[in-house]
Amino acid sequence: MSAFLNQFWASTIDGLTQGGIYALVALGYTLVYGVLRLINFAHSEIFMIGTFATVAFITAVGVASPLTGLALLFFLLAAGLVAALASGGAAVLLERIAYRPLRRKGATQLAALISAIGASLFLQQLFSLKYPDAVSTVRVMDKVNLASIGTGVIRADKVLVFVGAVMMMVILDRVVNGTRFGRAIRATAQSPNNATLMGVDIDKVILITFLIGGAMAGIGGMLYVVFFEVTTYFVGFVLGIKAFTAAVLGGIGNLRGALLGGLLLGLIEEYGASIFGSQWKDVIAFSVLVLVLMFRPTGLLGESLGKARA
């Protein structure tokens, strides 16, 4: 317990940082589930693809030493764009190949889940062929200490991740709630029949949903690489489950819920680890998943997008 108190501020800062990455990936899960009622099992690999796209970009640009100021800003924007395109594109391809044919045939939930698992394994192993070991990158952003609170150090890259996650959620929220296209998404989520009657092109909506969700995961991947400076083909697996936990915790289909859930899960993990020890970190996260689904499956902020379906 004393460890928990001693480390409180450090745990808080680190929890919010890791939580930011969870939130970005959770946005993708929650969007797709809200519209299609499908757990996109392969979303974790979409994230992984984003990390590798960032690594490739760093190598292509030829970053030799950490960037600062405007150069860093431009770099981050460019890298974010590249990763978002790579992941978004991969998500669209995934939808086309692994999910759309099933939708056409009216396949069962089990079939969709199996297809998703198969796609996830396929993508994972595809990258393991080219990159069997961990791939590390040069430092692109200096880990500058900005301020301290108690034992916690506010570091520039941690701020970046946190702010990045919040920003993305805000942008996405504006898109879904403020634009015409966002209305189309919400309409499809509520009732596809009625949406079609109102002239919504369902196929296009689903495509864009995957694109946006994928792009979010891509940006999460970019931030992950800038922060950790390493990635592997297996990076998505556990992170994916945790991000899904975050989505459920916040309320599936609920964008603000994804952010809240992500940050909250990050905090719970860090606090829990400081009390019970790091070896229990994953168990803590999975237990949150089990407990939330058992006692409050609609999540903290409740379901959104399409509202709960039976």
Binding site: A3, S136, F228, F234, S278
Partner: protein, 390 residues
């Protein structure tokens, strides 16, 4: 229709019963006794998460065997590789195959888990096996007369590390972290116990699990370590995680010395740790041979480099020496398992890595632990754990 079916069933049943009878005759024993060539096996991780280590051993052994075969001996040796990916389960299903294939000896298995699980099979089949890297202490407690290893076990490495930390590095508060793997936790436990008996404190003792090549987020353990104000951090685990862990520690503001064991002794550690690599300490009961070595080690270095276009890695010299043990036996005309076993157990020569001689339980005689430091991106030797200072 009915009759055809019944006849079909009858035929199937007949085949079944006949084969059952054939089974009762038992399988025949396979022992390679042709004098033109014999098979020596290698078992280890060649394509899995820690393949660098397996490949190093295989290359060392291959070099020795190729050199021997090039002398046009009466009996050549064929190296048969069994890729277990370091997974004990795969090892247990490969072992019977190797035994069936008629290997007269085995270089390996590489890792402790696979050795533990296949040892009984080799023992039963009478296959002498020499591991170049399995360091779990309990492996020599099984009364396996066929078991040998050419490097000192964690019972030496753990205390050796502790000795270096407490005496050489003058650390009084130490954080011990492992990767929740058999090897990592085993080494960390040995070291932690020795640290305590050496009079220092283990201020933090936790595991952070890592699946294969995944790099965990070490933030919580790092915060705990920071709060405990330690002088050194000891990590039990492999190079894939050790590097990033060292990096995250440094970025997190931990100035304590970073120390790890032979699983981290690889250039990949230096790469993964980035700026945090320099000043890290790595131990091994193995010998690292590089460009600066002299004597037989230098010849080994040049030959290895020529054969594989790469520097010898961790355990390559041990792999070479393990193969040499079998080569010496075959040279002497011992080409069956039963003939080779006593010769292997009685081996006594100066190998490339160290003096080779075995105790009765298969452990190598003598238990020096060597200490290495990363200086300017290169892993350099700083003496034994008794002599080295930080």
């Amino acid at each position: 229709m009915n009759r055809t079916f019944t006849r079909g069933v009858g035929a199937v049943a007949a085949v079944a019963l006949l084969s059952f009878g054939a089974a009762a005759c038992g399988s025949d024993n396979n022992d390679s006794s042709s004098t033109a060539s014999v098979k020596v096996g290698f078992m280890g991780d060649l394509t899995g998460p820690n393949k660098a280590l397996g490949i190093n051993i295989r290359n060392g052994a291959k070099l020795a065997i190729d050199q021997y075969n090039a002398t046009n001996p009466k009996t050549k040796i064929t190296l048969v590789e069994y890729d277990s990916q370091g997974d004990p389960k795969q090892a247990t299903s490969l072992a019977p195959k190797a035994i069936e294939d008629g290997i007269v000896g085995l270089v390996g298995p590489a890792f402790s888990g696979e050795t533990a699980d296949t040892g009984a099979a080799w023992q039963e089949a009478g296959v002498p096996f020499v591991s170049a890297s399995a360091t779990r202490v309990s492996l020599s407690d099984n009364s396996w007369t066929t078991f040998h290893r050419v490097l000192a076990d964690d019972g030496f490495q753990g205390p050796g590390l502790a000795n270096f930390l407490v005496k050489g590095a003058s650390a009084s508060k130490i954080a011990v972290v492992d990767d929740a793997s058999e090897y990592g936790k085993g080494l960390a436990d040995e070291a932690a116990n020795a640290i305590k008996s050496g009079g220092a404190t283990v201020a933090v003792r936790q595991s952070v699990a890592a699946e294969g090549t995944t790099i965990p987020n070490y933030s919580s353990i790092i915060n705990t370590i920071k709060g405990a104000n330690v002088d050194a951090v000891l990590y039990g685990g492999y190079y894939a995680q050790a590097g990033p862990f060292a990096k995250q520690l440094k970025d997190g503001g931990v100035t304590a010395k970073f120390v790890s064991g032979d699983g981290s002794l690889d250039p990949a550690f230096v790469k993964g740790a980035g700026a945090a690599a320099n000043g890290s300490y790595l131990s091994c009961t193995c010998a690292l041979i590089n460009a600066g070595s002299t004597g037989t080690a230098a010849t080994f270095y040049t030959d290895y480099k020529a054969a594989f276009s790469a520097d010898p890695g961790t355990y390559s010299p041990e792999g070479f020496d393990s193969a040499t043990i079998f080569i010496n036996g075959v040279k002497d005309g011992k080409v069956t398992r039963a003939d080779l076993l006593p010769v292997v157990s009685a081996a006594s020569f100066t190998g490339v890595s160290k003096q080779i001689a075995f105790e009765s339980n298969g452990n190598i005689k003598g238990g020096t632990v060597l200490m290495y430091k990363v200086v300017d991106g290169k892993i350099t030797s700083i003496g034994t754990t008794d002599e080295a200072t930080s």
